[in-house]
């Protein structure tokens, strides 16, 4: 085991929180749609890709990263809503596996459209220099990007909580998540709620996408697979169907990954993902419903 100086330990802690925040945001976007529609949207990962390409297109044509970020978020939100309209609405009521698989097909379509319309090759771009700087807090050096990531996550989640708890729109979404049929009977428009869920999901994906791409500085057509995988795993760890679970799951996954990277011998580095997943499966063996999932009331 590596023994670390307190400063380094805290730095790693910040890294863990930062990665956890990123994963938490990813998971949140996925869980929002699942909560309302019981749909696991594989195409969610492509929203990250779309956002990344939005940033790339802006930055490579001379705009600032911030402009790129705004465009990226808008693009992700728009594409999310578009997929609902075009692909998922006709499939409402279809069996779970059909819809899940259709979302996979949508993901492949978006990915290959990007290959056609932009380029099959990775595209790099410059990210703002200050993101790589270190900031001194209480005598410790902490990276700017990790701090921004954590701060963004906290703000975003506070915003979403406010939206869900205090607005009519949010109330409608919560009602639909609890009991879709009853919510419709009470006059809540199914189409509107679902549309909003997809829009919100796209918005969150956009924000997470900007932060993701700020870390890597590149956009590739196939990049969506990793984020959606993280999001899926995080929601399962936390417990399908509740937003708190998704956030918790994301944090846990991020912390586990950073811990493994720090403590595993160097040769095992490429296996970090595999080990993290193995740990997840082990957790699920003992708690199939996830950490704060609710075990089904009516049992089999």
């Amino acid at each position: 085991m590596v023994s670390m100086a307190p400063a380094e330990l805290l730095q790693q802690l910040v890294n863990a929180l930062s990665l956890g925040s990123l994963y938490a945001m990813l998971a949140l976007g996925l869980a929002i749609v699942f909560g309302v529609m019981k749909l696991l949207n594989f195409a969610y990962g492509e929203l990250i890709t779309v956002c990344a390409y939005g940033v790339y297109v802006m930055v490579s044509s001379g705009q600032s990263f911030l402009v790129g970020a705004v465009v990226g978020v808008i693009a992700a939100t728009a594409v999310s809503v578009l997929t609902e309209r075009v692909a998922f609405r006709p499939l409402r009521g279809a069996p779970f596996i059909t819809v899940l698989f259709s979302s996979f097909a949508v993901a492949v379509i978006i990915q290959n459209l990007i290959r056609q319309l932009v380029s099959p090759r990775p595209r790099g771009f410059a990210t703002p220099g200050f993101l790589d700087d270190l900031v001194s807090i209480g005598g410790l050096n902490v990276g700017v990007l990790p701090l921004i990531t954590i701060a963004t996550a906290v703000t975003l989640m506070a915003g979403i909580v406010a939206l869900l708890q205090r607005t009519k729109v949010g109330l409608a979404m919560r009602a639909a998540a609890q009991d879709f049929e009853n919510a419709r009977l009470m006059g809540i428009s199914a189409n509107r709620v679902i549309l909003l869920a997809f829009a919100l999901s796209g918005f969150v994906a956009g924000i997470a996408g900007v932060l993701w791409v700020a870390r890597t500085g590149a956009a590739t057509p196939a990049m969506g697979f990793v984020p959606v995988l993280k999001a899926f795993v995080a929601t399962v760890i936390g417990g399908l169907g509740n937003l708190r679970g998704a956030v918790l799951g994301g944090m846990v996954l991020g912390v586990v990954e950073v811990t493994l990277v720090v403590f595993l011998p160097n040769g095992a580095a490429p296996f970090v993902d595999a080990f993290a997943l193995l740990a997840v499966v082990a957790v699920l063996y003992f708690r199939p419903q996830g950490l704060i999932g609710v075990a089904a009331e009516v049992r089999t």
Binding site: E297, V298, R299, T300
Partner: protein, 265 residues
């Protein structure tokens, strides 16, 4: 050796603060058909769910032949010989009638020899031969219900709980169902029947247990329960007696006595 019994002892269960069941005691003997009645929302289905293991009670116990099976999974309870059906028929939609019964036969305890023969027996027993190869969802609802009941028999249960088996059935189908239940009971199965069709309950059951708002109100023979003023007050409603049913084929001679009682104020 004592005869098999299925007992719910002081069972209580709430849902988000609403008391669905409170201190309910119920006992089913293998030798009888027990009716369970009560107004909508009185907790009948909840009680069956607790007994079958689908729900855990907040308090109280479920005892099968003296053995505590409280909180055991529905699968475990089924394996011990307690079968049940649901308010809405739950057949396996991708399968035919025969295949549905086949699942029942291979899911029970014990040796599975001559499975086809057992399925044929069940088809005959429940008068389902003509529809053996029909997709389960393509036959009339009354027949679907018969299939579900026959399927629950396939596991050779000692107790069978039927949750509103006559719901959605017309009169002819109800009568056929009643005959089937009688034959099942004659074969040595203790039967619990929940239903709103009082005609069915009163003709079929040896004893009747009345639940109102989660509490046991009365228990006794059909005649006793029918004339219990508390029951009449809470459930049947003195001014809303259904008109006496026409004598059904094969109805027992008790029927005429029931008609006379109807005339009382």
């Amino acid at each position: 050796m004592t005869a098999p019994t299925l007992v719910a002892a002081s069972v209580s269960r709430s849902f988000s603060g609403v008391r669905a069941l409170e201190g309910v005691d119920l006992r089913l003997d293998q030798a009888e058909i027990l009716g369970l009645i009560g107004p909508n929302g009185s907790g009948k289905s909840t009680l069956v769910n607790v007994i079958s293991g689908a729900l855990r009670p907040d308090a109280g116990r479920v005892l099968l032949n003296g053995e505590d099976v409280t909180g055991h999974s529905p699968r475990a309870v089924a394996r011990k010989g307690v079968a049940r059906t649901f308010q809405t028929v739950r057949l396996f939609p991708s399968m035919t009638v025969r295949e549905n019964l086949h699942v029942g036969v291979i899911s029970g305890n014990g040796e599975h020899r001559n499975v086809d023969g057992r399925v044929d027996e069940l088809l005959s027993f429940a008068d389902l031969r003509p529809w053996a190869h029909a997709p389960a969802m393509s036959i009339p609802y009354g027949l679907q219900r018969r299939v579900e009941v026959a399927r629950s028999l396939a596991t050779r249960p000692v107790f069978l709980m039927l949750d509103e088996p006559a719901a959605g059935l017309n009169e002819e189908e109800s009568d056929q169902l009643l005959e089937l239940i009688r034959r099942i009971h004659d074969g040595g199965v203790g039967v619990l029947v929940i239903d709103h069709d009082l005609r069915l309950i009163l003709r079929l059951c040896h004893r009747v247990h009345v639940l109102v708002q989660g509490r046991s109100l009365a228990e006794g023979t059909p005649a006793e329960v029918r004339s219990d003023p508390a029951v009449v007050e809470a459930y049947i409603g003195a001014h809303r007696n259904p008109p006496p049913p026409p004598a059904a084929p094969g109805a027992r001679s008790d029927q005429s006595k029931t008609d006379e009682e109807d005339q009382q104020p």
